[in-house]
Amino acid sequence: MSSWIRILIYLAAAPIVGGLLAGWDRRISARMQSRRGPPIRQPFYDVQKLWSKQNLVVRRSQNFYIVFFLLLVIFTGALFFGGSDLLLVIFALTLAAIFFVLGAYKASSPYSFIGAERELIQMMAYEPMILLTAIGMYMVTKSFAVNEIASHSTLLVLTLPGIFLGFLYTLEIKFRKSPFDLSCSHHAHQELVRGITTEFSGRTLALIEIAHWYESVFLLGWVYLFFASMPVLGVVMSLLVFVFVILVDNVFARLKWQTAIRSAWVVAAVLGFGNILVLSLLSAKPAIPAAPAAGAVTKPAASETVPAGAAMPGWNNAKAIARRN
């Protein structure tokens, strides 16, 4: 399938899939709280209603920023599903979030300000881990291009278990779920009124909702990338991850922003960086066989220290690299 067709499918299907995911989210949450919950199509009803509401603004330009937020979120997803460079995808994602923050800052309301500040803090919390995820994928596949990562022959999650867990942690932040629903919350925590979305109403709020739908599909697409060599498993795992995120949302209370940023960085350092360190140690070895003496010393040591499951695919991969060399 050419990348243009994939992009077109993404543009058309993502709002529908994203909206249904949001509906399932509310339904599953309700069931976890032993409630009946709204219909699956509820998010569509919400957006339909918001579309015909009066649009109140503090400053007209605040809506302008939100339009760019939506466009850049769509652009991010289009880059991703078009198989473009993962670093460019991260860059576009960050830019989109920045436009959202700017829109909230434009509205000059204290609640909106606090929401915007917390959104920035959340970005600082998840950015390192997202970057490490891209680097980890590069180290295994030797490419930043999404289509090459997706067509890689091994299951990435086996070589990148730490990075996968770290990425799950950032997903909690990106989906704005407890314990990280600091900047705005879909549930009835009201001490910030509605945080970053406080000053948006009517159509602008509908655009924000639609942007979130696109964003969820893009993020679950990234989860799929970890299982890309087995497509069915990938889809199943993406949905399981989504259910897991909802479960965590219902189990945990909200964290303070200090704890949120500290824990996110610790996770990035231990799981993300640790995983990359192991990978680099593994891939350093096969370069050595040119000098047999040194290779003979290091090889047994490596196979003793590294657990078999993690070592094997990496080892195959390293051999592949050696062959290419």
Binding site: P39, Y45, K49, S52, Q54, T198, S201, L205
Partner: protein
């Protein structure tokens, strides 16, 4: 289908309730009643809300908050007064700091009785409110099509209740501009308005049998005093105010001069009178924030 009846978002405010009704409102969100199955979300943000649930009687402290929340909600919006106190003031009605039920401050669409109102009654009230919300949305949508079908008629004494309700509704915008709720339009009682019909002439603007605007005129010697131009918020900015002024001028064939007045911060009213041919001739300071502006027009 507009989605309004499927996704009502609620903001809940406790005016000065004993907390009985508030607990019952929150009980609606619990697993037993679970109003979220109807798409209800308890937002806590007036800018996202469609339905304003108020519990308790209105006192001097909560007055401004209620008016503020109401003004911050985007149209179409519905107000539900939950419990006896919110409906009429209840047992606190005669207290020195109580101004009565919620309808003493903002227009109320649905009243839910009970002390405390039962969750079933509150859910029923919300369902009733949905119909009002849908109706208001239809009215809003219909505005651009039917403003040219407006009829301008002489109002009778029997129109007084409808005109009073309109004054209270449209007066909210004015109270916000002046930051003052003691405006005559908001304070007037039905009796005062009915007595006023003996002295003055009222013209009403009617669309589909509903009064959407009115104006008052009173002659004194050669001068006719034009006042009380009100237009329903949905129909503002459709030139109805100016045409009302024109009609009231026709109602005084013997007047040589017309006089009107408004407050300085009310730019929209000044603009309206300016387009109708009125010119400023004197001003009078009223409060530090408000200056009364007197405008006049000679008959050509």
């Amino acid at each position: 289908m507009s989605g309004f009846s499927k996704s009502p978002w609620i903001i809940h405010y406790d005016a000065s309730s004993c907390n009985g009704c508030d607990i019952e409102v929150l009980a609606c969100l619990t697993p037993i009643f679970d109003v979220e199955r109807l798409g209800v979300v308890n937002t806590g943000n007036p800018k996202h809300a469609d339905i304003f649930l108020v519990t308790g009687a209105v006192n001097e402290q909560s007055k401004d908050v209620i008016r503020n929340i109401y003004n911050e909600m985007p149209e179409p919006k519905v107000v539900v007064a939950v419990g006896t106190c919110a409906a009429s003031g209840g047992i606190f009605r005669e207290c020195y700091n109580i101004s009565g039920g919620v309808d003493s401050v903002i227009p109320v669409d649905v009243y839910v009785p009970g002390c405390a109102a039962r969750p079933e009654a509150i859910v029923d009230g919300v369902v009733q409110a949905l119909k009002v919300l849908e109706q208001k949305h239809q009215d809003m949508k219909a505005v651009p099509q039917n403003t040219d079908q407006t009829l301008y008629l002489r109002a009778e004494k029997s129109d007084a209740p409808e005109i009073l309700a309109l004054q209270k509704n449209a007066g909210q915008c004015e109270a916000e501009i002046y930051n003052d709720e003691n405006l005559p339009a908001l304070q007037q009682t039905l009796e005062e308005l009915q007595n006023d019909f003996d002295r003055a002439i009222y013209i009403k603007a009617v669309i589909n049998d509903k009064i959407i605007g009115s104006v008052r005129g009173q002659a004194h010697e050669d001068t006719a005093y034009v006042s009380g131009v009100v237009v329903h918020p949905y129909y503002q900015r459709h030139d109805i105010g100016r045409q009302l002024v024109e009609e009231i001028e026709k109602a005084f064939p013997n007047a040589k001069r017309f006089e009107a007045f408004t407050g300085r911060p009310n730019v929209r009213a000044l603009h309206l009178l300016g387009r109708a041919g009125y010119q400023e001739f004197t001003t009078e300071p009223f409060t530090p924030a408000i200056t009364w502006v007197y405008l006049q027009k000679e008959r050509q």
